[in-house]
């Protein structure tokens, strides 16, 4: 019965909206999905080109390394983000301990910290030649090899760096899931003899699993797409391998084969994520909400909770931000000028407009999925979401080629027919930059909007309709207020992501157009860490406000409050 009635709902709404929407919505979604898949498809098409002996060379020498390192990195960051994210989410949603109110939002701060910045910063601090180890040697009189100190620039180091800045994705979604859980299931578990910890492991965690997996897949996709950190640490993973093969060996086909293997990783992640979400498609198990129970922690336990939340905040944000701050104190007088203010504004504007577009598109896709309920639409939305795991540079190249082709073809045609040169209409404009951002970040906004939409039961639509509200009025009176939180979340995450985005901006931007990330990266990669700190700090500062807003929006995302 359940199955039938759900199908029928989709069918009915289709029927009802058919006259107006069906005509263009489904083709519109398919078209949009196609457009946003073009960059990935372009890269995939390189697979068809012959790759000569370079591929064999890779197989003989480095491919195994790439596979093992990428797998270890993914696994390590997976474990890291999971343990940090879930622990903090649980503590801040269901336990009472000193400082909790602060941690709730402060734990999101590392989200504003680009991974390559934190990597540069930590290397500067903890490298063999850095101040910390130098101090140790000065005190002890030890030399190289006399003592053990973990190597920052290593696979382990990369895992720690990425985990520290990516755990907020898991934290964010896990916390939202914990807050939404019915009080009953927790109470039931307590009556069945579970204490705080076992009710976490046996009830809350399994229930929140879909959300946790969703957050994890975001973090892992970012990991697979990361280039800045792994290349700085000299790790041979897929992203660095793709670059070497493409640019060092000059073989785009072999590079595309590597990229294809990378995409295979990604598809696996997406399939796991969808599978885990499908298994828990129910919205709310009960209508009865009450204030969530709080496990009051005292004494030693409160201290442990406090430390558990403090550590990720300290290492993911406070420490690197302070280091940046110290550096910036030295250099800001030189670095802050009219052009700096302009590039800050550029960055903010670009981030905002991309975020708004990403959310509008996500609404278009998500409602399409809800209303049309067609397999084709489902599949195409899924394809759009793959861009998130593709490294920015690859996307950028995938954007340059088709856009330039379009421009040049149009130009040639216009010259032939009308003797007018239209030149480059799209290439080298902010349109190209934003297009690349959307290809990369639509996955984030779609995911957030979809999860918001899932909370609005179809019966709420029908209740409003039965009380005399037209579909459009239902949208404004019911959907928008209820979606506010997730729409805001989508806006903010995309905004922060765009702020941090680097490679696509670097290569696609128009003349004289700079962003904070470009400025920070250029200086840092030129080994001028101190000079880059002002821009890096600005990225963090601009990202801070959205992150704080974000935490507010989760706090209010619990139904009804």
């Amino acid at each position: 019965m359940q199955g039938i009635s759900e199908n029928s709902l989709g069918w009915v709404i289709r029927y009802r909206t058919s006259e107006l929407l069906k005509g263009w919505w489904q083709p519109g979604i398919l078209l949009a999905a196609l457009i946003f898949s073009i960059p990935v498809l372009t890269i995939a098409s390189f697979l068809l080109q012959p790759s000569g002996d370079v591929w064999q060379h890779l197989v003989d020498t480095v491919l195994t390394d790439y596979l093992i390192n990428s797998a270890l990195l993914t696994l390590g960051v997976g474990l890291g983000t999971l343990s940090i994210g879930v622990t903090c989410a649980w503590l801040t949603s269901l336990c009472q301990f000193p400082g909790k109110k602060l941690f709730i939002w402060a734990l999101l701060l590392p989200l504003a910290m680009p991974a390559y910045i934190i990597a540069y910063t930590y290397t500067g601090m903890f490298d063999f030649a850095g101040p910390v180890q130098t101090l140790i040697r000065d005190w002890t009189g030890w030399g190289y090899g006399d003592y053990y100190f973990p190597e920052v620039r290593s696979l382990g180091g990369a895992i720690v760096m990425l985990s520290l800045v990516l755990y907020p994705y898991v934290y964010l979604l896990a916390r939202a899931a914990f807050l939404e859980q019915s009080v009953c299931v927790i109470e039931v578990s307590r009556t069945l003899g579970c204490n705080a910890w076992s009710s976490f492991y046996r009830v809350a965690l399994p229930l929140a699993r879909p959300a946790i997996v969703a957050g994890l897949s975001l973090a892992l996709m970012e990991t697979l797409a990361d280039y800045g950190t792994v290349s700085y640490f000299g790790l041979g993973v897929f992203t660095t391998g793709i670059f070497r093969t493409w640019f060092g060996l000059g073989d785009s086909a072999a590079a595309a084969k590597l990229a294809a293997i990378l995409l295979l990783f990604v598809f696996t992640l997406i399939v796991i994520e969808r599978w885990s979400r499908n298994r828990a498609q129910y919205h709310h198990t009960t209508n009865r909400y009450r204030q969530l129970p709080q496990f009051q922690l005292t004494g030693f336990r409160a201290l442990i909770a406090f430390v558990a939340c403090l550590l990720p905040l300290l290492f993911g944000f406070l420490l690197p931000a302070s280091q940046l701050g110290l550096w910036a104190l030295d250099t800001y007088t030189v670095m802050v000028d009219a052009s700096f203010i302009r590039l800050t504004l550029n960055t903010i504007l670009l981030g905002l407009s991309t975020a708004v577009l990403a959310v509008l598109l996500a609404l278009f896709f998500a409602y399409g999925k809800r209303v049309l309920a067609s397999k084709l639409v489902f599949a195409s939305v899924r394809v759009v979401a793959t861009g998130y795991a593709v490294p920015g540079t690859i996307i950028a190249v995938g954007v340059i080629i088709p856009l330039a082709w379009f421009d040049n073809t149009l130009d040639a045609y216009m010259r032939d027919q009308f003797e007018i040169s239209t030149g480059l209409l799209l290439s080298g404009t902010l349109f190209a930059v934003m297009f690349a951002y959307l290809v990369r970040f639509l996955a984030v906004s779609i995911q957030s909007v979809e999860s918001g939409l899932a909370k609005i039961r179809l019966s709420m639509d029908e209740a409003a309709r039965s009380m005399g509200y037209k579909p459009a009025e239902t949208l404004f009176r019911i959907h928008l207020p209820l979606m506010k939180g997730s729409v805001l979340t989508a806006l903010l995450i995309v905004f922060v992501d765009v702020m941090k985005e680097l490679p696509a901006t670097l290569i696609l931007r128009p003349f004289n157009f700079n962003t904070l990330a470009v400025r920070a990266f250029e200086l840092a990669s030129d080994e001028r860490l101190a000079d880059s700190s002002t821009a890096a700090l600005m990225i963090v500062a601009v990202g801070l406000l959205p992150v704080i807003l974000l935490s507010k929006s989760i706090a209010s995302s619990r139904a009804g409050s």
Partner: protein, 348 residues
């Protein structure tokens, strides 16, 4: 008197799967109707078709003499002058109780809205909770808000989709009575969909029993119990067994338990093998009776015991006996028949 709702030969299908076949019934103003049936019988589909959420393949629906659905025509739900209560209540979590109730009153002026919301809060006993939010309420309270919200615009027809399904039995009974009183007080015409016959009996004036997309019988609760139109209704409503019998005369049949007097179909020929429905209260425990049976199971109902009995021929019957007659399992007890309503089915 003209009817408030008419459903004529309704056909509905999902793709190739026809879920409603030739469903017809009507409802008088101020009456409370009920569609009763097991899960999957199509009862919810009827309700949704009336609301306009489900397109119609054939037949038509009229609300207050106005055609709202046919195979070629479908008025939007918001223009049908209906109210609906959903199984999950579908209260809007971002609105307070008062705002939820006032949600359908958008065309009323503010003063009228306030008055009406207050009135409904009072009727449903929720005056203290106007500013509360749905998640702060208990299930029963949410149910009352859902009712108040659906009734607020004084719809011509109120549709209720298993509104008590999430509740415990006591609350169900109590709410069903409350809802009936409120509906009668407001003089509303309403249809309830449920799989629970007790709920149907408690609230409805008129019950349609549905199975496999067809209406099996439309009648009062009393008649459904005592004069079921077919085997499905006989089995679905109340308890009982169907045992073989032979037509003895124009007004009696013979069973193993003895002769039953009653009205027979006119064309019944003497000696025809038929089946009769025996309710537990038709079988009387009587120690003096010559007919005996063995107790194979029993359940205590407070005032009564329900005994599961097997006769020597192997036929099993149910017997309702006062609970001071406490017999052990495997004990042999005497029984006799006392049937008020003879219910006969053709042998199949």
């Amino acid at each position: 008197m003209t009817s408030q709702l008419d459903i004529e030969n309704l056909d509905v299908s999902y793709g190739d799967n026809q879920v409603l076949r030739q469903v017809s019934f009507s409802l008088q103003p101020g009456n409370i109707g009920c569609i009763l049936g097991p899960s999957g019988c199509g009862k919810t589909t009827v309700l949704r078709a009336i609301a306009g959420f489900e397109p119609v393949l054939g037949g038509r629906i009229l609300i207050n003499q106005v055609e709202v659905s046919s195979s070629i025509f479908c008025i939007a739900p918001e223009k049908r002058d209906i109210g609906m209560i959903f199984q999950d209540f579908a209260l809007f979590p971002h609105l307070s109780v008062a705002d939820n109730i006032g949600f359908g009153l958008k065309t009323w002026n503010v003063r009228q809205q306030q008055t009406r919301v207050r009135e409904l809060l009072a009727i449903t006993g929720m005056l203290a909770y106007g500013q509360a939010y749905p998640h702060q309420l208990s299930g029963g309270q949410q149910q009352r808000v859902a009712l108040a919200r659906a009734m607020a615009p004084r719809p011509g027809l109120l549709l209720m989709d298993e509104p008590f399904s999430g509740m415990d039995i006591d609350l169900r009974k109590q709410l069903a009575r409350e809802v009936r009183n409120i509906l009668k007080q407001e003089k509303l015409t309403a249809i309830l969909v449920t799989h629970d016959q007790h709920e149907a009996f408690a609230i409805a004036d008129n019950i349609c029993v549905m199975d496999e997309g067809r209406i099996q019988q439309q009648d009062s609760g009393y008649n459904l119990y005592h004069q079921p139109a077919n085997r499905f209704v006989a089995n679905f409503i109340g308890q009982g067994v169907i045992i073989p019998a032979t037509v003895e005369s124009s007004h009696s049949v013979r069973t193993e338990l003895g002769c039953i007097q009653g009205k027979l179909p006119i064309d019944s020929e003497t000696g025809t093998a038929v089946d009769v429905l025996i309710r537990p209260d038709d079988v009387i425990h009587d120690d003096n009776s010559s007919e005996t049976a063995i107790v194979i199971d029993k359940s205590f109902l407070g005032a009564d015991f329900l005994y599961y009995l097997r006769m020597d021929s192997g036929i099993e019957v149910l017997c309702l006996a006062p609970s001071h007659h406490n017999h052990k399992i495997n004990e042999r007890i005497g029984i006799r028949l006392d049937v008020d309503h003879l219910v006969i089915f053709d042998r199949i």
